[in-house]
Amino acid sequence: MKRLVIALAVLALAGCGGEAIVPEGQGAHGHGASSAAPPVPAASARFNDADVVFAQMMVDHLQLGVSLSQVALAKATKKEAKDLAGAIDATQREELSMLKSWLKLWGKPEDGGKDLHAAHGGQPLLDDKVISDTKDKSGAEFDLAFLNLMAGHQGAAVEMALAEKKDGSNPEAIAYAERVTTIRQGQISQMLKVISDQ
């Protein structure tokens, strides 16, 4: 019973009561490490469940964002879209190596399991099929699809970061969540301006 109550409280904290659990799509994994290997900020050892959930969900989220950026680097026609894809690809690889090192330090797996998203806000916008489907588009149609998907995807990162800022305990993870909030909001602002100019 206690466990159920805690689970309910966690669900409420994540604001995802009433979500239907649907089969999860395949995550995009297996991209090589960044050629640039900048120093990675170490996380301190004090952490709670919210920190772990945030890091695990962000690992999956960052990988999906890198995968979509890779498609956009090859297909985007607008300079703003292609540049943003390149910058997201580079910066999120950097963030990925940082988060993976934190999870290793904490003794937690990188993969939070297939029910993680369903239990924390619904199925992610992106999966391998959604990303693959964009390859059938070209020109302005591709740009619009990419910008819409990436704006939505990064909006979900803001939601995760806001939850971490509220519920997390690890100082480095909370500081990272603060940066995610700022940087993704800036990216979304850039993308919405391009979308509404079309």
Partner: protein, 245 residues
């Protein structure tokens, strides 16, 4: 005794749920990104909508189905979306218009509804399927003319809630909207997202080409990856974008 303990745990948890839900972050949301809805204008920094709410979560104007507001009525920091005198940018449209949604997560969809005042001018069935990306609908504006507020509603199939998105439009052959309702960007538009350079030439919201050099905090950096700069991507904080020289 055991039962009392369980009850106490439940009671302890309930206030937390009640307290947290109105301000908590929730997932699986969406908003109209084109033409720029009010929430999209908040997120783009076109209109200053305050430090929280739609600035960071344009996708979260959520509330029970059947609301007649732009905010969904759930969160206080989204009430700004109901303010008709906020200086929203107005989009000129013809007798039909195409509306494009941006989603942050997938959700089974009951349907989409579009209203001008109390009149439903558009309906698209969702068949409880997850939406396509992007989802665009062409709406016949039903003979309405002039300055109007189109209220777009995404009715979710597996919860009681809907997402609301208001778009300010001027219907009819590109006639400029009346001057009294013409939106002019507030002078604070760029200052809300721009911070003064910290002792250097680097600035946010600026396009930099690969190889460009800047100074920041007394050091020099070379751009490794073409991008438009952002607050948060200052050279010392973005080694993937800037190499110290």
């Amino acid at each position: 005794m055991k039962l009392t303990r369980k009850a106490a745990l439940v009671l302890a948890a309930v206030p937390a749920i009640v307290f947290i839900t109105p301000t908590g972050t929730a997932g699986a949301h969406g908003y109209v990104s084109s033409p720029a809805s009010r929430a999209a204008q908040c997120a783009a920094g076109v209109v200053d909508c305050g430090p929280t709410g739609p600035r960071y979560e344009p996708q979260s104007a959520e509330g029970p189905k059947g609301q007649t507001t732009c905010s969904g009525g759930t969160r206080q920091d989204f009430e700004v979306l109901n303010d008709d005198n906020k200086g929203w940018k107005v989009t000129n449209v013809g007798s039909t218009m195409t509306v494009t949604w941006t989603f942050t997560a997938r959700h089974a969809t009951r349907d989409y509804e579009y209203f001008i005042g109390g009149t439903r001018v558009g309906f698209v069935a969702g068949n409880n399927q997850q939406p396509n990306n992007p989802t665009s609908h062409t709406i016949n504006l039903g003979g309405f003319t002039g300055r109007q507020k189109l209220r777009a509603v995404w009715n979710i199939g597996d919860t009681v809630n809907a997402f609301y998105s208001c778009i300010d439009i001027n219907i009819g052959g590109g006639t400029p909207p009346p001057t009294t309702t013409t939106a002019t960007p507030p002078p604070t538009t760029t200052t809300t997202t721009t911070q003064p350079p910290v002792g250097g030439s680097w600035a946010p919201n600026t396009p930099y080409a690969t190889g460009a050099t800047v100074t920041y905090g007394g050091a020099s950096y070379r751009c490794r990856q073409a991008h438009t700069s952002l607050t948060g991507w200052e050279p010392p904080n973005a080694a993937a974008l800037w190499e110290r020289i």
